[in-house]
Amino acid sequence: MTKITYKDIEGNSKTLEVENGLTVMEGAIQNNVPGIDADCGGSMACATCHVYVEEKWLDKLPKAEEAEVDMIDMAFEPKKNSRLSCQIIVTDELDGLVVTTPKKQS
C-alpha cells in the first residue's frame, strides 16, 4: 500500500492508501475521488484523468511516452507538470505522491 494524496485547486485534499500496481487514476476512481473522470477507462485516449504532479515528484516518475504527451495537448489547461494519472503506476517509490486535479477535465 502506498499513500497518494489527491488535491483539488481549491486546496481540498484526500490521502488514500492505494494498492501497488494500480494506477493513480484507478486509485481515484475506486475511492470516488472527484475531479478525475477517466472517460476512456485508462487507454490514453481522452485526457480526462489529467493531473498536475508536484514538482519534486516529477523526476521520480517514469517519463511520459510520446502518446501521453500528445494526449496532454488535449487536456484542460495543461502545464509543464501535467500527466495523465492513468499512466502513473503506483509503486513503493511513490509513497507520499501528491497530485492536483485541474479546475475541470473537459
Partner: protein
C-alpha cells in the same frame, strides 16, 4: 416518421455489429450518430493505432476495423443518420419514439444504445472570454473556408487538424500557429510544408505558449500569448481557430430516465436490457458486474440483446437460433448463393 424494428444509437464498432446481428435475424434498423461518419472512438481517437485483441485478427487499426464492419453489414443496406443527435426518447404503448436535433422522428419497439462514452464535441478554449466570441471570431471547426479569407488567423493546437488548416488557410490569410510545446505531432510531410512556409515568412509559429487573453469588443482585435518563461506577446488576430480534439459528453442520454451508475447505464447481463423494457445498452456505455470495456465484450452483448429485440419486434414468431454457416435463411439475407 420512420418505422423500424430497432433504432441503434451510435455508429461505433458495437453499433455497426448490432446492424449485423439484427440483419441476420431478419430485423430492420437505422443508425443515428452525432459524428459525420461511422467508427465512433475507433475513428475519432485511434484510426491509425493498432488493436491487438479482436479475436482472429492479430492486428488492425481502428479505421481497418471500422471498414471491415461496414463491409460486413453492407448486405443489409441500413440507413445511417450522421451529424444527428438523439434529443428525446418517449414511450408510446409498445413502441419508443425518438426525436433528433434535426427534427427527424423514428418509431420502433426497440432501441439499442451503443453510445460509447456519449457524443463527441470539440474541446473548447479554457479562457472564459472565448465564449463571447464563439461563432463570430472563435471557431472549433472550419465549415466554410471563404469566411477565413484575408484575415489574421491564430490557430491553436499541435495535431493534424491544426497543421492541415494552417497550411490550407495560409494560401489566403496570415496565419499564426500557437502550441503549448515545441513539438508538433503531424504527418512528416505536413510538418515539412509548415516549416517551409515559416521560412518564407508566410506563417509564424509561436511555441511554447498558451492563450493568456483576448482583446476586442464585438470582434477580436488581438490576443496575448504567454510563453512558458513568463514572457508575453500580443498578436494581431481577427479569428481564432482552436483544435484541441474532441471530448466525450454523455449529453441527453442522462435524461432518458434509465437507471445509471456514474456515466454508464445499468443493464442485466442476460440480454443487456436497461431499466426500461425495449431499451438496451451495449458496449462502453453499459455496466453490469464484471463489465470490461472491450470491443469484443460489446460484440457479445449486442448478439444477446438482439435476440430480445427479435422477441419484442416479432411477438407472434418463435425465435430460432441458427448458425450462419448452415442457415439457408441467413445466407439469403446476406445475399449469398
Amino acid at each position: 416518421m420512420i418505422k423500424k424494428d430497432v433504432i441503434i444509437i451510435g455508429a461505433g464498432p458495437v453499433g455497426l455489429f448490432a446492424v449485423h446481428q439484427l440483419g441476420i435475424k431478419g430485423l430492420t434498423s437505422v443508425v443515428i450518430d452525432n459524428l459525420d461518419k461511422a467508427g465512433g472512438q475507433c475513428i475519432e481517437l485511434y484510426p491509425d493505432k493498432p488493436i491487438y485483441d479482436i479475436p482472429a485478427i492479430p492486428e488492425c487499426t481502428g479505421k481497418e476495423l471500422t471498414d471491415k464492419l461496414l463491409e460486413q453489414i453492407k448486405p443489409f443496406k441500413t440507413k445511417f443518420y450522421f451529424n444527428e443527435r438523439v434529443e428525446e426518447v418517449r414511450k408510446d404503448k409498445d413502441n419508443w419514439l425518438i426525436k433528433t436535433n434535426n427534427q427527424n422522428e423514428f418509431q420502433a419497439p426497440n432501441i439499442i444504445i451503443a453510445g460509447g462514452v456519449g457524443s463527441f464535441e470539440p474541446r473548447k478554449l479554457s479562457l472564459k472570454e472565448a465564449e463571447n466570441f464563439e461563432g463570430k471570431s472563435v471557431f472549433y471547426a472550419v465549415k466554410n473556408k471563404d469566411q477565413f479569407k484575408n484575415k489574421n488567423i491564430s490557430i491553436f493546437g499541435g495535431g493534424d487538424s491544426a497543421l492541415d488548416w494552417a497550411l490550407e488557410l495560409s494560401k489566403f490569410s496570415k496565419i499564426t500557429l500557437v502550441h503549448r510545446r515545441n513539438e508538433f505531432r503531424g504527418a512528416p510531410h505536413t510538418l515539412s510544408e509548415i516549416k517551409k512556409l515559416e521560412d518564407q515568412g508566410k506563417l509564424s509559429i509561436k511555441t511554447p505558449c498558451q492563450l493568456e487573453s483576448i482583446e476586442g469588443d464585438n470582434n477580436i482585435t488581438s490576443i496575448t500569448l504567454k510563453y512558458d518563461d513568463g514572457k508575453k506577446e500580443k498578436v494581431q488576430t481577427n479569428i481564432i481557430l482552436s483544435f484541441f480534439g474532441l471530448i466525450m459528453k454523455l449529453g441527453p442520454i442522462a435524461e432518458w430516465g434509465l437507471n445509471m451508475e456514474k456515466k454508464t447505464i445499468s443493464v442485466n447481463s442476460e440480454n443487456f436490457e436497461t431499466s426500461e423494457k425495449g431499451i438496451f445498452a451495449v458496449g462502453d456505455i453499459c455496466t453490469y458486474p464484471g463489465k470490461l470495456k472491450l470491443i469484443l465484450s460489446g460484440f457479445h452483448e449486442v448478439a444477446l440483446a438482439t435476440v430480445e429485440c427479435f422477441k419484442r419486434a416479432r411477438p407472434n414468431e418463435k425465435y430460432r437460433f441458427e448458425f450462419t454457416t448452415s442457415s439457408k435463411t441467413i445466407q439469403d439475407r446476406l445475399g449469398k448463393k
